[in-house]
Amino acid sequence: MTSDARGSRFEALGAYLPSTVQSTPDLVASVVRPPDVDLEHITGVAERRVYDRRPEAGEDSYGLALKAARDALGHSRYDAADLDVVVSASITRFRDGDDFYFEPSFAGLLAHELGARRAIHFDVSNACAGMMTGVHLLDRMIRAGIVRNGLVVSGEQATRVAETAAREMVDSYDPQFASLSVGDSAVAVVLDRAVDEADRIHYVDLMTCAEYSHLCLGMPSDRTEGIALYTDNRQMHKADRLRMWPAFHGDQLAKLGHGFADEGFDYIVQHQVGTRFIDYVNRTGAREFGTEMPESLSVVEEFGNTASTAHFLVLHRHLKAGTARRGARYLLVPAASGVVTGALSATITNLGV
């Protein structure tokens, strides 16, 4: 945990959501062997956005990311040419429609297309903690004085795995069951140096408990044509896995002589796995920290689990709608395959959305 005068802040936030809405009943109707449970009741996901497959829609992972990046820059004091760094964090890396890219980096292509001609660029891949990882690295680069600002972006065509699950899964115990709760979206955030306490990233601390790295695996299916995500839900969401965040965060705070309640968080944003998951993690936090959790923000009911973009989509929607207060302190808690957990604490006041 580091907190120094040269800290960074969130300067601008952008998002893009495909306009096509798919309700959970519509999704379930497309499942070849529909689950024997009420999907909407279990996950809390009523609907999600799905990409438009027409090339002119530009809604592959890369196209989604590009639109979110442009939206963020539209709310930023910086032009693309001012950016020192571009980091892309997509898990799904579709470009040119159906091609899944490993190189070149999306970040380099986005930097070029946006006009960030001199930007350092690289991709990070860290499952649903990808955006948080990009922010963590950019924050460190700004604090270290290596760069002044940068953009972290992710576009997720997550419903590609739902399409495969709809064809292949056999019941609600199937490792692809969790794929039915995902949705498509893109977000982008601009960071620069903090100039006052009104906007500041106080800390970003992340940890990988690799003992459990095999519990959620994404790769092409070996049964039908498509990419798939295989999750051991029972092990992944076991009580001990969920205790990792309060244990780690609590220890980090203790090094500073702080307790959770001293942090004065106004809002908490959990990973948007489902409404029950969010409630469960918040209850675990309350029990482990011995204090009430701040108000929990979510969008999972409307957009599903949007993978690496989830926390920033929550911020974007609530700040834009005025349902989250400015001048408040936010806690973002990742929960990603790896298994990755941690905490991002930030005061947000003037963030452009």
Partner: protein
Amino acid sequence: MTTVIKAASTLAAPADEKAAAVLLAGQAARECLAEARLSPDAVGVLINVGVYREHNTFEPAVGALVQKEAGINLDYLAHPVPGAAFSFDLMNGACGVLNAVQVAQAMFSTGSAERVLITAADVHPGGRAALDDGYPYADLGAALLLERSATSEGGFGPVRTAGSGSPSETAGYLPNAGYLPTAGMGAGGRTRITVRRDPGFAGQLLDLAADTTSGYARTEGLDLHRTLLVSSRPTADFAQRLADRLGLPQSRVLAPDSPGGGGGLPHTAAPILGYLRAVDQGLPEDVDQILFVAVGAGPSAACVSYRPQDR
């Protein structure tokens, strides 16, 4: 404060078994730690920069799987003395190791880590590079252990990058790229990969490598004649062509072939392979520093100097 190399390791896949990036990177990581006489739990951050991986796995980060393979801080709750490590993948084609060095410098400078382990393993998704004529790279893994040094002597200089301003597309598509065409892959997507390297890409990368190297030497005040270049190897004759372009003796540009034969080019592991070769043969008396230069798809380039602490 400076960033130094504590240990480095590389290994080729056994010729008679399917290669896995996780195993190659994990073994290279363990060799590095053994060389440095450090416990796996001494690693705070693991950055995996490999591009091609078994089964075309896209989740979790390959870095997390490597962390498990290397036994680094596996379970925060189960550990008697809670120790945390953070791992992730950083992907930027052939430039990954150098991008990761820059990230490590930021980690060290902000007190976020004492040691950063970089792993760079590429394997054909089907496990046997030699069986796919269209795949140019070797099944190869490497690891580089970086450490924060309290002295200001030696170590890495600043990382400089270039490339995003250059034309990235030719006639609407990327001239140098690696991807899985999912349309038409059927149920075979775990073992296929398409690597496109159009004629002319090598010339473009040579221009970029030469410009980036000269620019670095100018900005940082390095005498290239007192420098050993360690270059990536996008083609077998790249080192020779780069030396000619820069007017340097052939012996001053290293871009070693993959160990283990097989004919495949080293990919993300190339800077580590080159560093190990430089260490093995010993730096000539009239060489003050190594200059790493990496160029690859994008096109993207990165450059950083390294002065061993005994120089």
